[in-house]
């Protein structure tokens, strides 16, 4: 079974080489003469005003959590899609109940306005 994944391993290895090689080659072959002026911050001639890490709004967190929940729903749908023809109506009914529960939650968040951005 694992031999099916050999192309993926090769792909990952090639990707890593292509990603790492330019950096390493640049370090090795390029001239390296650091000084403070090169490393100093610049922003259209000004010193930088503030830290780049601004504080995020809590609404991003809500969107991320709702995304995880529906991501998990998809994770349950994959094995179901493979076997539901074998298992027949009980499996279809079971997934119907599961989807109904999540649809209730989806309608709730839709009507509550949690998906709307200001």
């Amino acid at each position: 079974m694992l031999e099916n994944y050999l192309p993926i391993v090769v792909f990952i290895a090639v990707g890593m080489v292509i990603g790492v090689a330019p950096i390493v080659l640049g370090k090795l072959l390029g001239p390296n003469k650091p000084n403070t002026a090169k490393l100093s911050p610049y922003e259209c001639g000004f010193e930088a005003f503030e830290d780049a890490r601004a504080q995020f709004d809590v609404r991003f967190y809500l969107v991320a959590i709702l995304f995880i929940i529906f991501d998990l729903e998809i994770a349950f749908l994959f094995p179901w899609a493979v076997v539901f023809q074998q298992l027949g109506w009980p499996a279809i009914f079971a997934m119907g109940v599961f989807l109904l529960l999540l649809t209730v939650g989806f309608i709730y968040e839709w009507k509550k306005g949690a998906l709307e951005w200001e």
Binding site: F56, D57, V58, L62, L66, F67, P79, Y108, K112
Partner: protein, 206 residues
């Protein structure tokens, strides 16, 4: 030769996972720590793949790397934390941490010593046919024997949706949105007032 390659990949992924986990603890920048946690999860997915758990390995990448780590990044950026005050308690809590780590290691060793490794048929893992489908096995178990826990998982996800909204949703703050139902239900009397005679004594005079 097959076994040798399995061992080679196992040691690669195990080393990567240990490296990532160590860097999660030691990196000064919390965003970098999250990215190293991503590396740890990817390496763990590789290890699960070597155990022939292909569906779980891919779901680990899909759910943990794709979704949970995004949530972690948002939390790290939301808290906007400065790490220096967090590092202050390091020495103070070190004995407790060592105690917990030692307990976990002792448990792992105890389980390893007291389990008959030959009875686990570890050798059989490598002998699955090429068309063996992990997802089919999982689906056949999940939607027959474990149907009830599966529906409970659905209820837990529903509770999670409602809890997340209840905890973090603050309602519309400065949103200018249409409420079509209210607009349609409006009657003429709500919007329009016909003023017939404004005499000098009327209170309607501006």
């Amino acid at each position: 030769m097959e076994i040798d390659w399995l061992k080679f990949f196992f040691y690669c992924y195990a080393a990567l996972a240990l490296f990532g986990a160590t860097m999660v603890i030691f990196s000064r920048n919390s965003v970098r720590a999250v990215l190293f946690l991503v590396l740890t999860f990817v390496a763990s997915a590789g290890l699960w793949m070597l155990l022939q758990a292909e569906f779980l390995a891919l779901i680990l990448i899909l759910v943990y790397v794709g979704a949970v780590m995004v949530l972690f990044l948002f939390v790290v950026m939301m808290l906007n934390m400065n790490l220096s005050p967090l590092k202050e308690g390091f020495v103070r809590y070190l004995p407790l941490g060592i105690l917990i780590a030692a307990t976990i290691v002792a448990q792992l060793v105890w389980v390893y010593k007291n389990t008959d490794m030959a009875a686990l048929h570890l050798g059989e893992l490598a002998q699955k046919p090429a068309d063996y489908s992990n997802i089919t096995e999982l689906g056949l178990a999940l939607y027959t024997d474990y149907l009830y826990p599966f529906e409970i998982a659905g209820v837990i996800l529903l509770v999670a949706i409602i809890a997340a909204i209840a905890l973090t949703f603050r309602g519309p703050q400065n949103r200018r949105s249409q409420n079509i139902a209210v607009q349609v239900a409006t009657r003429k009397d709500d919007r329009l007032r016909v003023i017939k005679d404004v005499g000098p004594d009327s209170d309607l005079k501006a």
